[in-house]
């Protein structure tokens, strides 16, 4: 609920990305500019024999835009996105009041989705355009006359100026297969260059997503190198020597591969680079510092909080909550500055002045200070408390930071070492001891960077954060048992033996937004979620089934010989199938032994069939529910309900 946000706020305090110096609001606006020419509209068949499809570059671009729009609703709910089609026969823009109208001031520019946080209707409209041929054909008609690129760029300029003023990040994504739009007209070319400079001076970054034609490779030097700048001027955090990577990701080939490579390169730039901290000194030794920027490349994405919606008006509206703080004794409203912080102690409050509070929390200025090096093997796999921070050099405070950082990173990579660091990421942040490890660059099959090169700062637990391991009776497994399990494991490697996060979308997050989308668009709520984290059971059975059985039999044998007859009653394992139900032996003391075998599932099932679940005891109900992943909270009646529900579901 909206009111329990406070606890969360406090927790998030450490994580907040802050920009203390800038007057700009830390938001991102992306405007797609998609070229609608006849070549962009020509479908490209895919040769996949199983499902031959045709995708035109324009529709691939629209699908990418739709995909990005959906994705950003989840990942960046406060950021804007818009879609501008250019080269269309029809034109559409808004006048100064912000209302849309057919306007000829930007001929052949069609503002399909205005730059804004997308509404459900806009999502729907864009999807229709991307997926519905009919809809698309009506609108996607190339004009006879060539559109002026200068006009397109100025049109984008006006959209950014009026719709996303003062945004820290504003980006124009141009998707086109035309590498030389005004080959014949020098004046039109110059006009485009000037308008591009305007965008640059406005702080808009142009990202080009070039598409090669079947008979012609896209050549940026013919036009686009003159309108794209090395760094966005507003991106003060950009490393000194960024990023002529526009050449690397030209989409080409048939429809599907074109779509995929476009998706991959757009995805890689879907989020604007926001730093967690900038120009923090990395101290290699006394009196030797360089400066680095920090980024959160890995962070758990949570669904947006619920809010309150006001239903009294024509359309539902989000109600903004305002908190007022009042004194408990008189009820008068108190100001922030009056508030004192106090700790509960011995039934009263122990107070400190604001200055004392600050002094208690102050452990010095932000720093990453190396206090020594260790082999990487010294970092235990369990020594982790949260996500790491990625750092990359910045030349802003210390010239030469990049080369020193690079030398250190290469040394740590080569020798498999880590640096132990004292880490204070921001002013007044809690210090921690951390392991700084070097990370290598990783690229995907399209040549798009997946993991940047740099270093990762992994906060270590303090002694206070390490919990004691509970004791239990251990039994060393015989070698043949271990070997049997090795055989199982060998059958079930993930592709390339690595974990690829991209293959596992968060199922509950996706489901949350999938349902919201259905509700917002007034569509049917889907019945089954698409959960990629559910193991591929069929493959497991097919590939490893026999090995599993071998191992399972060995476990039984060994257990029998190691623990004798008594142990069988004390142990519950392992094998469980519709026909093979002799496993799942519960502790015998609780269950009546029937026919020599003890079997919790069977007992409970029989009780269910007799309608006598309610006669089972609480421990049995609980054990049964636990074994099936059901909640065990509540009164007995609740548990009985749950057990009955379990069997009813199965029938």
């Amino acid at each position: 609920m909206a009111d329990d946000n406070y606890a969360r706020d406090e927790e998030d305090f450490d994580e907040e990305e802050v920009d203390e110096t800038s007057y700009r609001s830390v938001k991102d606006a992306v405007l797609f500019a998609i070229d609608i020419s006849s070549s962009m509209l020509t479908p490209r068949p895919s040769k996949d024999a199983k499902k031959p499809t045709e995708v035109s570059p324009a529709s691939a671009a629209l699908r990418c835009a739709y995909h990005l729009m959906q994705q950003r609703i989840i990942s960046n709910p406060h950021d804007m996105i818009g879609v501008l089609l250019y080269g269309t026969e029809s034109s559409k823009f808004y006048d100064e009041d912000g209302k849309s109208r057919d306007d000829l001031s930007y001929p052949h520019c069609y503002l399909f989705t205005d730059l804004d946080i997308p509404s459900a209707d806009e999502v729907k409209a864009l999807r229709a355009l991307a997926e519905d041929e009919e809809e698309a054909r009506k609108l996607l008609k190339p004009s006879e006359e060539r559109v002026s690129m200068a006009n397109v760029l100025f049109c984008a300029n006006q959209i950014f100026t009026s719709k996303a003023p003062n945004f820290l990040s504003r980006r124009l994504f141009i998707v086109t297969d035309e590498d030389n739009p005004h080959a014949e007209s020098k004046s039109l070319r110059s006009a485009s260059f000037v308008r591009a400079k305007d965008l640059y001076d406005l702080g808009v970054e142009i990202d080009l997503f070039p598409i090669s034609r079947p008979d012609h490779n896209f050549n940026t030097s013919r036009f686009y190198d003159d309108i794209i700048y090395k760094t966005a001027p507003s991106d003060g955090e950009a490393p000194a020597y960024l990023k002529p990577d526009t050449n690397t990701a030209t989409a080409k080939g048939d429809g599907i591969s074109l779509l995929n490579s476009l998706l991959s390169s757009i995805n890689s730039r879907s989020v604007p680079r926001r730093s967690l901290f900038t120009n923090v000194p990395l101290e290699l030794g006394p009196d030797f510092r360089i400066s680095v920027n920090g980024y959160l490349l890995l962070k758990k994405q949570e669904p947006a909080r619920s809010c309150y919606v006001w239903l009294g008006g024509e359309t539902p509206q989000i109600a903004k909550g305002i908190t007022t703080q009042s004194a408990d004794d008189t009820g008068h409203v108190v100001e922030k500055s009056e508030i004192r912080k106090a700790y509960k102690f011995g039934g009263e409050q122990v107070t400190f002045t604001t200055e004392e509070q600050q002094a208690l929390r102050n452990f010095g200025d932000p720093i990453i200070r190396i206090i020594g090096f260790k082999p990487l093997s010294a970092l235990p796999i369990w020594a982790n408390v949260k996500h790491p921070t990625f750092i990359y050099p910045s030349e802003e405070d210390y010239i030469g930071s990049a080369r020193v950082f690079s030398a250190l990173q290469q040394k740590l990579l080569k020798d498999q070492k880590l640096a132990l660091v004292w880490f204070i990421p921001r002013k007044n942040a809690t210090p921690c001891l951390a392991a700084m490890v070097a990370g290598e660059e990783r690229v995907d099959e399209n040549g798009v960077q997946k993991v940047p090169p740099g270093m990762w700062v992994i906060p270590l637990p303090f002694a206070d954060d390490v919990r004691q391991n509970p004791e239990y009776a251990r039994h060393a497994p015989p070698d043949d048992l271990v070997d049997a399990m090795c055989n199982v494991i060998g059958q079930l490697e993930l592709p390339k033996k690595v974990y690829d996060a991209q293959k596992y979308p968060n199922p509950s997050l996706q489901w949350h937004y999938r349902i919201l989308q259905a509700l917002a668009l007034d569509e049917d709520v889907p019945e089954t979620p698409d959960d990629k984290t559910i193991p591929k059971f069929r493959q497991i059975d097919k590939r490893a089934g026999d090995y599993v059985l071998t191992w399972s039999e060995l476990v039984d044998e060994n257990a029998k010989s190691m623990f004798g007859g008594t142990a069988a009653t004390k142990s519950t394992l392992a094998k469980r199938g519709p026909k093979d139900q002799d496993a799942g032996n519960p502790p015998s003391k609780r269950v009546k032994v029937e026919g020599g075998t003890t079997n919790l599932d069977d007992d409970v099932k029989r009780s269910f069939e007799r309608g006598a679940v309610a006669k089972l005891t609480m421990p049995i109900l609980k054990e049964f529910l636990t074994a099936h992943g059901r909640a065990t909270a509540g009164k007995k009646a609740d548990l009985v309900d749950r057990v009955e529900q379990f069997f009813e579901e199965k029938i």
Binding site: Y23, S119, N166, F193, I228, Y229, P244, D245, I290, P303, C307, W310, L311, Q317, G321, I322, T324, S337, A342, Y343, G346, E356, G372, P375, W382, A383, N384, H387, F390, E396, Y398, R403, S406, Q410, K411, K417, T430, W456, P461, F462, D464, V466, N469, R474, M485, K497, V498, A501, P505, P507, S508, H512, L516, L519, P535, I540, W551, A574, K575, A627
Partner: protein
């Protein structure tokens, strides 16, 4: 559940305890109390009702104890009975623990009194019983019936600690020179007594030194998941197996206590109750939160109206569309799940990137008291270890919780065996920011070069290699393996705050203590290590040739060449040919302003450009419907400010901002624009002060005042009645009330009331 406790502290308050010895700045009693207070306040800080503490004064002036009939037990008084200690008790104890005027009183008798008190209090119930005696050992002590007392202590299961000021302790290295023979006799008596009843005997110095080392609160392991580690789907396939397992945290961040908000009790309440607390400082009252809700309504004053809580439904934002969810469907967006730990597949240990860990670590162990499960899980753990794999699994800890993808790593050593479990990122958790390579530079034309000012040359690389090797840490475990000093590192904030709270509770008027060194032990490299690597470092510094950028020239623009596109085309030349650009167009103000400045050859051009932009800003404010143009104005002013700092003309900006402020406050720019002023203030684009630009004539304080000062509602008349001039003008309002604008923007008004400088 933590065990119930009954602890009695026997504090020697005899006259001799009031003396300072061996050059110490504190008396024996003060010294002893450092230890006792620390122990007592630690117990208080835990806030447990079952932790009972009592304090006995030994060698006190008067006698007040259960056994006072017996003459042996004179000069022993109970300062507080066994029970939970709260703040009033602390205050009372603080006031009553003072050196007495007598040296009479037998320590052994005090122990007998304490034993009796514990017995009466705890009877035969399960308790952790403890007696702590702190003394300087100069009082009279009788050895009558020692053995019986010792037996009683042992049979009652009482733990006895005896600590003495300047007691000899060869192990710790304390030996008092010229020891008084009577004291020596006492020491040996106490030592023998403690040792005879399995108690401890030590010197105070050691005990106090140990206080420095933070105590770690042990937490009883509680399983966060009990269920099955499964391979395959047992509902569908006969080959599915499952092992009953439990999950416990391996790491869990211990957070410092959180402070709550309070305000001083209003004077009125204090008078009414006629009972101003005798405690330190002001009495406090809690702060209550109230929440009201508003929605946009263009027809209302201020554009917003309050709505009733009852008219609100729970909902979510989908983009900018509000989606409400009726109560019946409350959980409609929740993914239905059942608790599970299902294996997905296996990955190679060598190829795993350690930085993918995004959570704390847990352990997975077999269900307890289940031998077969233990055997089965152990074979799985060993198989992972043997084949160098980690397992990837889907985990749901409780029904209807969100699924996680976790990594399971084998952990096998002599003492323990388990699986380590950590969360892995989902695709949504990975943000792909791109960065250029660190070992090469790719040029615009796509050429790869390996020699560049941003890349280390061979000299630098070698110097770095040497330095890193010279700074190797030597922490090893008992087997000689490299380890990180996790055991010796303590959470600085946690212990700093906890000890400050404890100290403040006893010494409300003292300033807070410095942070103990042990908390920041790892803030700096070891001195020895630094010394040994000094020459390598010196070499590295010279090879690295790193230069600090002087703060003044950061981002300076004047000398910088203008940015060019990738091709290097001279766009400025093209711009110069554009005839239209003599005047800044309001539609394209920022780019044209920047371009005009970059072309400017003299101050007049700069002046002109600034004037034009200022006019545009004013007209945008004037024509803004509500706050429609505010963000644009902030952006334009911010740009203006940045550029003029770069061009070293801060006065142009400062003059304009002053005039703009007065115009806004006098409502000359289309009515009430105070909200915009607040926005400007929040955006930190006030006057350019001397710290930002050395050409500025405005001090930091002055700049702060100008952006702070804001009129409150009732001062409108005052403000507009004051003619604008360059004079400084101070206006005070006496009855300041916080101002809430109709639209709900709460102005966090300055503390020092209303104050304005123009």
């Amino acid at each position: 559940m933590a065990q119930k406790e009954a602890t009695i502290y026997i504090v020697d308050v005899g006259r001799s305890m009031g003396e300072r010895r061996h050059g110490r700045s504190v008396t024996d009693l003060e010294w002893a109390m450092q230890y006792v207070w620390d122990k007592i306040t630690t117990t208080v800080g835990n806030g447990r009702k079952t932790a009972n503490v009592s304090v006995l004064a030994l060698r006190s002036d008067d006698t007040s104890n259960e056994l006072r009939e017996d003459a042996h037990n004179s000069n022993i008084s109970v300062l507080s009975r066994l029970g939970q200690v709260l703040m009033p008790d602390i205050r009372r104890l603080r006031d009553s623990i003072k050196p007495s005027n007598t040296n009479r009183g037998d320590a052994i008798s005090a122990i007998v009194v304490a034993i009796t008190m514990i017995n009466e209090f705890t009877r035969t119930l399960k308790y952790k019983r403890k007696i702590v005696l702190v003394t300087n050992g100069t009082g009279p002590m009788s050895d009558n019936g020692l053995e019986e007392i010792q037996k009683k202590i042992v049979s009652d299961g009482i733990e006895l600690d005896i600590l003495g000021a300047d007691f000899d302790d060869p192990e710790y290295g304390v030996k008092e020179e010229d020891k008084d023979p009577h004291k020596a006799q006492n020491e040996s008596l106490l030592r023998g007594f403690a040792e005879g009843c399995e108690g401890t005997y030590g010197t105070l110095e050691e005990a106090i030194a140990e206080l420095e080392t933070p105590r770690i609160k042990a937490v009883n392991p509680m399983p966060s998941f009990k269920g099955m580690l499964r391979l395959g789907d047992s509902q569908k396939y006969e080959t599915a197996v499952q092992i009953p397992v439990e999950r416990y945290p391996r790491t869990y961040v211990a957070r410092p206590p959180s402070a709550s908000s309070f305000v001083p009790v209003s004077k009125k309440t204090q008078e009414e109750e006629g009972d101003p607390k005798p405690s330190q400082g002001d009495a406090l009252t809690a702060v209550r939160m109230a929440r009201t809700y508003q929605v946009d309504d263009p027809s209302a004053v201020g554009g917003k109206v309050d709505v009733e809580r009852d008219d609100l439904a729970k909902g979510y934002e989908y983009g900018r569309t509000a989606v409400h969810i009726s109560q019946i469907d409350e959980n409609i967006t929740r993914l239905d799940t059942f608790a599970c730990l299902d294996l997905i597949g296996f990955i190679s240990q060598d190829k795993y990137d350690r930085y993918l860990h995004i959570s704390n670590a847990n352990i997975i162990i077999p269900e307890r008291a289940n031998d077969k499960a233990s055997l089965a899980l152990s074979s799985f753990t060993h198989a992972l270890h043997l084949s160098s794999f980690y397992a990837v699994a889907r985990m749901v800890t409780k029904e209807n919780r969100a699924p996680m993808v976790v990594m399971l790593a084998p952990s096998i050593n002599a003492g323990y065996e388990c699986l380590i479990e950590v969360q892995l990122p989902f695709s949504e958790d990975v943000r792909s920011y791109q960065f250029p390579p660190l070992d090469k530079v790719i040029t615009v034309s796509g050429k790869t070069i390996t020699e560049h000012r941003n890349l280390p040359n061979q000299d630098l690389q070698e110097a770095m290699d040497n330095y890193v090797d010279s700074m190797e840490l030597d922490h090893k475990d008992e087997l000689g393996n490299d380890v990180l000093p996790i055991d010796e590192s303590f959470s600085p904030l946690l212990h700093r705050i906890e000890s400050a709270v404890r100290y403040r509770a006893v010494h409300p008027d003292n300033p807070i203590l410095e942070s103990p060194e042990i908390l920041t032990k790892f803030a700096h490299p070891d001195e020895e290590l630094v010394k040994n690597s000094a020459s390598s470092l010196k070499n590295l510094i010279s090879k690295a040739d790193v230069k600090k950028v002087p703060p003044k020239t950061k981002g300076r623009k004047r000398q910088r060449e203008t940015e060019k596109p990738l091709s290097g085309l001279d766009v400025d030349a093209l711009l110069n040919q554009e005839p239209k650009r003599a005047n800044i167009s309001p539609d394209n103000a920022i780019p044209e302003f920047k371009q005009m400045l970059s072309r400017a050859e003299n101050i007049e051009t700069i002046n002109g450009a600034v004037k034009q932009l200022c006019a545009i800003v004013e007209s945008q404010i004037k024509n803004s419907l509500g706050d429609a143009n505010y963000d644009r104005v902030v952006e334009e002013l911010g740009t203006l400010r940045d550029e003029l700092v770069d061009y070293e003309e801060p006065a142009l900006y400062n003059d304009f901002l002053r005039s703009l402020k007065s115009k806004m406050l006098l409502e000359e720019l289309g009515g009430d624009r105070r909200e915009l002023w607040w926005l400007l203030r929040r955006s930190k684009i006030g006057l350019i002060d001397r710290k930002t630009s050395d050409r500025s004539e405005v001090s930091e304080e002055e700049a702060k005042e100008v952006s702070k000062s804001t009129p409150s509602l009732q001062d409108d008349t005052n403000a507009s009645a004051v003619p604008f001039s360059k004079l400084k003008l101070w206006v005070w309002t006496m009855n300041y009330e916080p101002t809430i604008h109709e639209n709900g923007t709460s102005y966090d008004a300055p503390q020092e009331r209303f104050l304005m400088i123009l």
